[in-house]
């Protein structure tokens, strides 16, 4: 009985897919969102994340597969019979009702007569107690967003679905609301499924992130795990930035692979290679820009032994306060990106300088070379209507 209770808020998608004519928005997908977790579906516009969310809400009928909430199969239930609520992208507040009535809407539809106390408490939770008698258009974007959250949460849904809820807010407000949503989620303990195209938002808020691409889940895991151990170039590029060196497995030494890329030799822990590991196999050796240290070529002798190193020339540098971003031309990889913390700045590191890039081999990850190195890299100008 207790286990049933504990898993009552699990969302289980089994083989769920959605096709529109000949276009497949979501390929058959299995996904379990455990009760009480903050789960993010992350991806660019048109990757199928919103469609997946709408299938959980019942606003979209899956072409195949089933949706379970806990032990209940809700696939055939219309949205008004599902114990889930949605925070819509543009909030979809009822313009003809005041804030109080907007929040009370769900309760009234379920025939609850005395809504005053509950609505009051909910408005206090989102700090809008004073605004109860205003109409939605009299509130700011951030306040409207909080009304949308309150209107959904007051129904104590098993799952709260959030469709790009912060997309319309400016950066500062978005940061604030991210923390606010996280606080509310911790407080009420309801399962949150959050759809976003903003990797930072997903990583700040979610316990588990599913990165979606082309209607499939590319990788699923905790934010730190996804960031440190991406399994595809798409994930590596979509979450933060990655440098890739095309290399060939030259040998094996204990738990490490020795890679050959042009003239340089790189060490890659076998456990961190998701590509082929046989000798002679082509792999992409990846490393995050902030893991790399830069040393001027004149000081190359002072670099400790055992670090991966490649040589290059600084092509460009930009100072952005906390760090300096360098772009480095190297025979192994053109336009290598390096983020250096501004702790001890070496005045010689200016464009044109010969440098050695070096990093701890443990920060190298290996991917199958048979994929697009640039996948997911151009995510900067995403529109929020994904």
């Amino acid at each position: 009985m207790t286990t049933a209770q504990e898993h009552g808020g699990d969302v289980r998608l089994t083989g769920i897919s959605k096709t529109y004519g000949s276009f497949t928005a979501v390929h058959p997908l299995d996904l379990t969102v455990p009760q009480g977790s903050f789960f993010a579906l992350l991806g660019a516009s048109g990757c199928g994340k919103t469609t997946t969310l709408r299938m959980i809400a019942g606003l979209e009928e899956p072409s195949s597969g089933t949706v379970h909430l806990g032990d209940q199969d809700v696939t055939a239930l219309p949205p008004y019979k599902r114990p889930v609520n949605t925070v819509f992208q543009s909030y979809a507040l009822f313009p003809h009702l005041d804030i109080f009535e907007n929040v009370a809407f769900g309760l009234r539809r379920r025939g609850i007569k005395s809504v005053k106390k509950q609505v009051g408490e909910m408005l206090d939770l989102v700090q809008l107690g004073e605004q109860a008698r205003k109409k939605p258009h009299q509130l700011s974007g951030g306040q409207q967003q909080r009304v949308a959250v309150a209107r959904a949460l007051i129904n104590h849904p098993k799952v709260l679905l959030l469709d790009e809820p912060l997309g319309a807010l400016d950066l500062k407000l978005r940061r604030q609301m991210q923390l606010e949503l996280k606080r509310i989620q911790t407080e009420v303990g309801i399962t949150f499924v959050h759809v976003t195209h903003d990797q930072e938002e997903a990583m700040t808020m979610a316990d588990t992130v599913a990165v979606m691409n082309g209607g499939r889940v590319e990788q699923l895991g905790a934010p730190a795990d996804l960031y440190e151990n991406p399994r595809t170039t798409f994930v590596a590029n979509f979450l933060g930035t990655s440098n890739f060196i095309e290399a060939e497995v030259a040998a094996r030494s204990g738990d490490d692979l020795i890679l050959k890329a042009g003239d340089c030799k790189l060490t890659l822990p076998t456990a961190r290679c998701t590509g082929p590991t046989a000798t002679g196999a082509k792999v992409l050796a990846g490393v995050r820009p902030e893991k790399i240290s830069l040393t001027h070529a004149d000081d190359a002798g002072r670099i400790p032994e055992g670090r991966n190193r490649i040589t290059g020339r600084i092509a460009d540098s930009s100072f952005i306060g906390v760090s300096t971003q360098y772009v480095i031309d190297s025979p192994a990889c053109d336009s290598f990106e390096v983020y250096a913390q501004n702790i001890e700045r070496d005045a010689r590191l200016t464009p044109g300088a010969e440098v050695v890039l070096h990093w701890n081999p443990a920060h190298t990850f290996g991917l199958d070379a048979a994929q697009d190195v640039e996948a997911g890299a151009s995510k900067v100008e995403e529109d929020a209507s994904a």
Binding site: L59, P79, Y80, A92, P95, H96, F105, G106, R109, N155
Partner: protein, 312 residues
Amino acid sequence: MTTPLAEAPPAKDPEGPAPAPRKPRRRGRLVPYWLLLPGILWLIVFFALPLVYQASTSVQTGSLEEGFKVTWHFATYWDAATDYWPQFLRSVLYAGSATVLCLLLGYPLAYLIAFRAGRWRNVILVLVIAPFFTSFLIRTLAWKTILADGGPLVGALNSLHVLDVTSWLGVTDGDRVLATPLAVICGLTYNFLPFMILPLYTSLERIDGRLHEAAGDLYAKPSTTFRKVTFPLSMPGVVSGTLLTFIPAAGDYVNADLLGSTDTRMVGNVIQTQFLRVLDYPTAAALSFILMAAILLMVTFYIRKSGTEDLV
């Protein structure tokens, strides 16, 4: 080499140096008033002046032979109202019934066009407006054929015993439909239906579809969604549609003339007769003003009641 010359603005300013920067700005400020001028002139000549003329006519006495003089004879109003109150009442009843029928027929259609028609939307809209391509009179005369005694429609209604019910209600007469109140109401409904559908469609079409999804998401059944979200949000359309139907229908005389009988005369018919047959201009003018005042009163009350200023 020649491009800069070609791109230079043509130097044709015979008035000499460019005007001071202040001048165009002052002219710019007056532009809105200049743009208003034609419309205002039009309204003055064709609305305000006739209205004043009509008002003065209504307080004149005299006859066509001796000529009319302004004698401030306000008793004309009292006489007109007491003599013709049945026609006033009938106008309100017929126009009101036609408005209700238009709303009942037009709302589902407008809803369908706005939310369900898909790529047929424009086709249906054109079909709604299509009757305007023929004359109002011809369309009304066509109804004479449709409702003709012994015609297929009347025959069908008769055999279905619909006419028994309508006769009992007093809107038809035995097995006749033509020359009864029902015929007039049908004509009014038909002729003013597009004026109901179009505003309804515009206000329904403006409703964000996500509001329906949100209502469904918040446990509202489709019928509840309609009652609590769609209909309240379409109120501006309902109000403007009913006004656009009721006001012209209340003053209409063509339908009552062509489809009705002497027992179905509306106030429009009385005004027409007074003006064109009896040639009693003061009474006709007074009736027009009473009708205008009555409609203004009803409309003000209606708008207050429906609380639409809150929605826009």
